[in-house]
């Protein structure tokens, strides 16, 4: 019985630690990201090719409405690169941050050529994409 309790405590601790580990950078990104500045970054660098309209409009790039939490390469009607379509990736602030730093570094055959080299721009635009409404 004691062994089972210890296991449950260990599992709970591990789960909690994992959640904390995941949450800390998420919280950090959200805290660092300025929603309003992110809207400006989006308009300046992303809006030619992407829309955040609730209509889900695809442009040269796919709709980014509610992109966080979405499986990569799954927006209906958009012709993705094979690498992204088969990645199985689910977008979260961390992997979106990595992707935006160097899109072709994550998907060599990707259609998006340019990223956002400045970390604060990435943090801000991710904060905006989390809630573009």
């Amino acid at each position: 019985m004691r062994g089972r309790t210890d296991s449950l405590i260990a599992a709970a601790f591990a789960l909690g630690a994992t959640a904390l580990f995941l949450a800390m950078p998420l919280a950090g990104l959200r805290a660092a990201g300025d929603h309003e500045a992110g809207a400006d970054v989006f308009d300046a660098y992303c809006s030619d090719c992407h829309s955040v309209s609730p209509k889900g409009t695809n442009r040269k790039g796919p709709s980014l409405y509610r992109v966080l939490g979405r499986r990569a390469g799954t927006v209906p009607g958009f012709d993705y690169s094979q690498g992204m379509a088969k990645s199985g990736l689910v977008w979260n602030p961390q992997n979106l941050n990595v992707y935006l730093a160097n899109p072709r570094g994550m998907f060599a055959d990707g259609k998006m050529k340019k990223g956002l080299p400045r970390p604060e721009d990435r943090a801000n635009v991710i904060a905006y994409l989390a809630n573009p409404d």
Partner: protein, 445 residues
């Protein structure tokens, strides 16, 4: 048409064509195809002035996005007032001044045909001329590839106007002013590249767009058969190109994200048989420099500036043989500069200066009421002020992407016209008599 008249036309480089208003170059079928609002490709929200994204779309062969029925319709109406009435009616269907006109109704076949293949084709009906013609033709195949680890586009374009393929739009009729008064006295002395051949030729151009920064293009043009010109409604004004006319363009663009700048070179060599008969030709060699700048910021409040210098050497062997002029060699230069500001991609103001000067030739440029030259000089200079309003063209606009609209008011003032400030035509007309108020409304569906 007499030899002298035709030579005069070639001398003044087909003024009617040059001075005619451009079609309203906004094509909502592209917007429907790409899902992008007009503002993605056009600063100010209405064509033809291209953003870097718009340049990329053009260089991509108009083929981004999904296949749709690639049809659009545009129309332009205007009111033209000159400071002094013209000596004769501005056209067969208009008066000497204060003319309302439905400038044109244009049907467009504009969009993706196949992957990497698209079109930009316009069939225009001109109300002042009561005439329909194939106005613009551009079909482009663009192959994306990698060169030295860099993204590149290799393209081939069939088109009907030198300069129309230029993504920087510095030297063709797509340069500012995109809308200009048609029912006004005609200028002499406009370089051939500025549209002297448009519509009358067929060309095949190849281009390379490397790493979103280097643009290199070379093309060759031949005259269309006069029977074909009749069929497509285009008047044979330039004559026949001897052999092949060559066109080249080299440009460098630096995209800073919120700003973009470019510099470039252009060149064209043409030998024309004005009467389409064998024998001596009139030769034109054009070369030019341009620089463009756009501050795009967050794509709402935009500043754009352009400056071009174009020089033309002319060798008029045909005109000399025909006795039209005794002077074989002519020079013609022009400078244009303009700066625009758009607020919310809706409210725009533009200021522009233009100056052109060239060789005096009193045989070629003779006094004639309104459109002639007392001095024999092709010198014209002045300024343009324009304010325009483009309420639609954004993603949130009503009926987007099915409707766009631009209303504009333009004032053109002349310091010199056809060689002089005072009595330029030899019949008492001053340059300032041609100062023009031009109000226009463009709609695109």
């Amino acid at each position: 048409m007499s030899v002298e008249m035709r030579a005069g036309l070639s001398a003044s480089v087909l003024l009617a064509v040059t001075c005619a208003g451009s079609p309203a170059w906004a094509v909502p079928s592209y917007s429907r195809q790409t899902g992008e609002p007009c503002t993605s490709c056009h600063y100010g929200g209405y064509g033809p002035a291209l953003t870097p994204h718009g340049r990329e779309f053009k260089l991509g062969g108009y083929a981004d996005g999904k296949a749709i029925i690639p049809l659009s319709v545009t129309a332009s109406a205007s009111f033209t007032h000159t400071a002094k009435d013209q000596s004769e009616d501005a056209s067969e269907h208009d008066g000497r001044n204060d003319n309302f006109a439905l400038n044109e109704v244009v049907g467009w076949i504009a969009g993706r045909i196949l992957p990497h293949l698209g079109s930009f084709v316009a069939i225009e009906y001109s109300e002042p001329e009561r005439h329909a013609e194939l106005d613009h033709f551009n079909v482009t195949y663009a192959l994306p590839l990698r060169i030295g680890g860099k993204d590149a586009i290799l393209g081939i374009t069939a088109n009907n106007a030198p300069g129309s393929t230029d993504p920087f739009q510095s030297f063709s009729e797509m340069a500012f002013p995109h809308d200009s008064a048609e029912l006004v006295p005609e200028r002499i002395g406009v370089p051939l590249l500025t549209d002297g051949l448009g519509g009358q030729v067929g060309g095949l151009n190849g281009y390379l767009w490397l790493d979103d920064s280097v643009y290199a293009e070379i093309g060759g043009y031949r005259s269309l058969d006069h029977r074909l010109l009749d069929t497509i409604g285009v008047e044979d004004e330039a004559g026949k190109i001897a052999g092949v006319a060559t066109y080249g363009r080299l440009a460098y663009q630096k995209d800073f994200g919120k700003q973009v700048a470019s510099v470039g070179l252009v060149g064209m060599r043409v030998a024309l048989h004005p009467e389409r008969d064998p024998g001596p030709t009139n030769k034109y060699t054009d070369w030019g420099l341009d620089a463009t700048y756009q501050y795009l910021g967050n794509r709402k409040n935009i500043v754009a500036a352009n400056i071009t210098y174009l020089h033309e050497n002319q060798q008029r062997d045909f005109d000399v043989e025909q006795g039209v002029t005794a002077r074989r060699d002519h020079r013609l230069s022009s400078v244009r500069a303009n700066v625009s500001y758009y607020r919310d991609n809706t409210y725009g103001v533009t200021g522009a200066l233009f100056d052109s000067w060239g060789t005096r030739d009193t045989d070629l440029f003779e006094p004639e009421e309104d459109g002639g030259s007392r001095t024999g000089k092709p010198n014209t200079s002045g300024f343009i002020l324009q304010a325009d309003w483009t309420p639609f063209g954004k993603e949130s606009s009503p009926l987007s992407p099915w409707l766009n609209l631009r209303l504009g008011l333009q004032y053109t003032g002349y310091f010199k016209f056809n060689g002089a400030q005072r009595d330029y035509d030899g019949f008492g007309r001053d340059a300032s008599d041609n100062n023009t108020i031009y109000a226009f409304a463009n709609v695109a569906l």
